[in-house]
Amino acid sequence: MFKDIFRKTKYVTINSNQKQNRSSEVPRQEEAAIVSKKELPDGLWVKCPKCGEVLFNKNLDENGRVCTTCEHHFRISAQGRLALLVDENSFEEWDSELNTMDSLEFPGYEEKLLEAQQKSGVLEGVVTGRARIEGIPFVVAINEAGFMMGSMGSVVGEKIARAIERAIELRLPVVIFSTSGGARMQEGILSLYQMAKTSAALGKLAENHLLYISVLTDPTFGGVTASYASLGDIIISEPNALIGFTGPRIIKQTMRQELPTGAQTAEFNQEHGLIDLIVARTQMRPELARLLRYHQEGAEYGSTI
């Protein structure tokens, strides 16, 4: 039905090895660019934006890109998170070929997409699939901050909805890691309705009595906060992550309201009843394992009762 809006263009296949091979090394993120290239040799060292400590990049990778001095959580790619999180070789990617189109012929969108794809080495702002943690199977989706700030367009919404629907078929729990600036304006109303699409899919998951854990990471805002990120049976956040509906800059501009120190942090959100657990990245794997285990259907637990 949308054929009349399709644009006639030619395509070539991108080399997708980069995104499909899992590496045990944690890929680095743009955030490292905070370090002035003049001060430090390229890529070997990185300066912690919180405590100022200069860290050996390799050590930072080995610590899940959490500062060894102050525990600042650097942003991390979806692939990097997978490497930290799931059992080795357990990840099976889904819908990796789903690709975006410039449905509204929005000024500059094609260029932005190409740039994002080439820079990040991934096609879109979310990776989905199934995996295991400590042997327990689950469905996972991870926003890719490196791709247009994890913003949600048609592809992100569709991949998440499909992953949830497949979880229902497979009777598996779902864990989604959010990092997003919100809905992607370049796809207009189609982006906006991805909020409804993903939320509706989660409604079906809930109806099927399947667990959904939402993990919020820095930053999670806008349309993602106002849809799947806030609908977890259990909501976890990484420490100090910024989470909210409206970004602090916009609140300041439109309301002429200065946010108090610490507003919109994970800790602020927890105090206001919006987050169950704050879990450090290094503890995420065992914590998720516990929660998944206690929700396993037909699990035996060596029960004495």
Binding site: F2, M101, F106, S154, A183, G203, G222, A226, F245, T246
Partner: protein, 328 residues
Amino acid sequence: MAQLFEFEKPIAELEHRISELQKFSADKGIDLSQEVDTLEKKVLLLKKEIYGNLEPWQKVQIARHSERPNFYDYAPLLFEDFIELKGDRLFADDHSIAGGIALFHGVPVTVVAQVKGKDTKENIKRNFGMPHPEGYRKAIRLMDQAEKFGRPILTFIDTPGAACDLGAEERGQGEAIARCLLAMSGYHVPVISTVIGEGGSGGALALGVCNVLLMLENSFYSVIAPESCASILWKDTTKAKEAAAALKFTAKDLLRLGVADELVREPQGGAHNNLHQTADELSEVISKYLVRLRSESPEVLRETRYQKLRKIGMFRESAEINLTKKLD
């Protein structure tokens, strides 16, 4: 008289000339009826020309018109009876969302609507139509009752967006909107949503998960305000006009994109020029769809709403990148 937009001034000038001619003719007893007639025809043509070809930005201006009818204007014309029910039972009653039970063509329905004020005082009371979490939670509470009692749900969208202040953040604005989306997607009763003015991003969408989406001719429904979009794209809020065109948010656009189901005609120049006519038109279209939906089973209503959402979005199933444009 209603506030005039720039693009309406040629019409107003012609109309002014006509009334001058008429006055002159009456004063001096000279017959100018032929001249007047010509001019009046010209006005009609001009109106058709201007109002028939409104640009997106012009529709934005009409949709935001200070005299644009709001929900409270339509309610007594659409419904034989309307009982407003208040509060989220948790924190507060939000005046930017009104809701309750109404009688529509003899059928009890649940109604939820965003409401902007008409003057400064009312706008302060209604937070310029920007709901807080308590507004969305009131909406859920009322719609849950519609589900409980098998009443159809009619929502009316008219908001620049959800409230964006510290209180909204503290009380979980994101959570409240997300819960609205989730709740609406699960109901087994007919849900018909109508954008009557401004449909501003997530705050509007929260009332827009429906079986049928109607849009008044000059309403718009956008992922982002055109000014904010211009500010992000071109660092220039004055380019809102260009952003308005880029965002494809008019009723016609949404019909074409498979999001809206029908455009509800407004009187020439916009709903504020004839409230009754607009209400009649709206009543007729809603009624038409409600008849259809009421003949469906609860399960079908729910599943078709889900499938409607599932289909929104465009993508291709191939990991190819576009070659027509290339980064250096």
